[in-house]
Each structure stands twice: as structure tokens, then as C-alpha cells.
């Protein structure tokens, strides 16, 4: 059962990721990325990380992708020409580089997968909201508060960058 669910979600994730980078319409790319994020959230559920699966859907597939879609609609981007109209040497180089990096990742991961400890069934139940909150508000409290400052700084910085006339507002005051 778990294997079937994993295969289904993995095929969906890979297919939508490929569709995302090959689609020439930007809005379609963004919607395929939403589907990809949702299927990765399903994989998180298989790994017993319920809290992060929900956060993934709420924050990534919800908030961040809505922001992306807003920017796409705002900028009114014209479509690129199709990726396959003519063969470019760039694509071959990119593909070869991708294969090299894939080999590197597999090589580095190959050494660690046989060093895993024996995990009992109650050790696996770590992804619940209760378990995460208990660690969050004790051991990682300072870092948790720091993320609030980080997000505030990001919002202020984004407002400053995307402001229409930055220089004028400084001179008129």
C-alpha cells in the first residue's frame, strides 16, 4: 500500500517538475509547480511528517505560489519561443551538467544510507504537531523568534525594492 502511494506521488512529482521546466507558458508552469508541491506534501505524509505536510500546502502551494501568480499576471509576460524549435548546444551542456550533478548526489548519498540506526515504531511518530511544538518552544525558541524578525525585514525590504519611485519619496520629505 505504502509502495503504491509512493510510486504514484513520485511519478506525479517528477512529471509535473518536467512539465514545469518544459512548458513555455509561465502561468502553466506555476500551476504545475503547485501540483508538484502538493504531491511532495503527500510524500511528507508517507514519512509521518503531518505538520510539515500541512505547512507545505499552506505556505508553499498557498501563499508563495499565489504571490508568483500575482507577479506573473502583473508583469504580463509574453510567451517565450518554444524550447524545441531549434537545437542549441546550451541544452546539451545543461543536460550533461545535470547528469553530472545527479551522479554526484547519488554518490554522496550512497555512503550514508547503510549507516541508519534501527528505528522502532514509536520513534517514527515524531512529526505530529504536539511533538514539534514541544521542541520548538523549548530548544529552538530563540531561532523561532528570529524568523519573525527575518520575515518582517523581508517584507520591508520587498516594499522598498518594489516601490514605484524610491528617489522622489526621499527628496520630497
Amino acid at each position: 500500500m505504502e509502495t503504491y502511494a509512493f510510486v504514484l506521488l513520485a511519478v506525479l512529482a517528477i512529471a509535473t517538475a518536467l512539465g514545469m521546466i518544459l512548458n513555455k507558458n509561465t502561468v502553466n508552469s506555476a500551476l504545475l509547480l503547485v501540483l508538484n508541491l502538493v504531491s511532495i506534501a503527500g510524500v511528507y505524509l508517507l514519512l509521518q511528517a503531518q505538520f510539515l505536510a500541512l505547512i507545505q500546502i499552506l505556505v508553499y502551494a498557498g501563499a508563495i505560489m499565489v504571490l508568483f501568480l500575482f507577479v506573473i499576471m502583473l508583469l504580463n509576460v509574453d510567451e517565450e519561443e518554444s524550447l524545441f524549435d531549434k537545437f542549441r548546444i546550451k541544452y546539451l551542456v545543461a543536460f550533461l551538467l545535470g547528469v553530472v550533478i545527479f551522479g554526484q548526489i547519488l554518490y554522496s548519498l550512497g555512503g550514508v544510507t547503510d549507516m541508519l540506526p534501527e528505528v522502532s515504531s514509536e520513534m517514527v511518530q515524531i512529526g505530529t504537531v504536539e511533538a514539534i511544538a514541544e521542541v520548538f518552544y523549548t530548544d529552538y525558541l530563540f531561532a523561532f523568534e528570529m524568523t519573525a524578525i527575518l520575515l518582517t525585514a523581508a517584507v520591508v525590504g520587498a516594499l522598498l525594492i518594489a516601490q514605484y519611485k524610491v528617489k522622489d519619496s526621499g527628496e520630497t520629505e
Binding site: M20, L109, T113
Partner: protein, 100 residues
């Protein structure tokens, strides 16, 4: 539970697709979405290691990575808007102010 190898392989494949997307696309927004895909692939490998070690620290790290990704998306999209306003394009081959 199925082996951890499958989750790590899925993570590696998604990361590679993200890298190829960054290299072949010219639209800045799609490149940005490919970066998000790569961040997600790394999150997936963190969560699978966390589950198979029985250690919650990996999931905490994913939470921080998510909040940093949100901040990064906001600032990056603001930069894209600023580039579009000066250049009327999000095609990165036409942005050559800092290019040697």
C-alpha cells in the same frame, strides 16, 4: 516502511530537474520557480533522514528552511518587478547591466 533510498532518489531527481531548468530557461520567473523546486528537493531529503533516524531536528530545520524560502520569494519577486520596470522584460539575456 519502504527503504530510504527511494525518497533520496526522488529528492535527487527533483533537484537535478531544478538545475536543468535553471540552466535552460531564460524567463526570470521560471528560473525562480526552479530554485523553489530545488529547495523542496532538499527539504524532502531532510525529512526522510529525520524520519529514518527518529530525530526531530531535521523537521525543525525544514520549518526554518520554509520561512527562509518565503522571505527569499518575497524579496526575489520584488527584484524581478524592479528589473521589469527598468527593462520592460524578464528575459535574463536582455539584462546586461552587470554583465562583463
Amino acid at each position: 516502511m519502504i527503504g530510504i533510498d527511494w525518497y533520496l532518489a526522488l529528492s535527487a531527481i527533483l533537484f537535478t530537474i531544478g538545475i536543468i531548468g535553471v540552466l535552460i530557461r531564460r524567463n526570470a520567473i521560471v528560473i525562480f520557480m526552479c530554485v523553489e523546486l530545488m529547495l523542496n528537493a532538499v527539504n524532502l531529503s531532510l525529512i526522510s533522514f529525520s524520519a529514518y533516524h527518529g530525530d526531530i531536528a531535521g523537521q525543525i530545520l525544514v520549518f526554518f528552511s520554509l520561512s527562509v524560502a518565503a522571505a527569499e520569494a518575497v524579496v526575489g519577486l520584488a527584484i524581478i518587478i524592479a528589473i521589469f520596470r527598468n527593462n520592460l522584460s524578464v528575459d535574463i539575456t536582455k539584462v546586461n547591466l552587470l554583465r562583463w
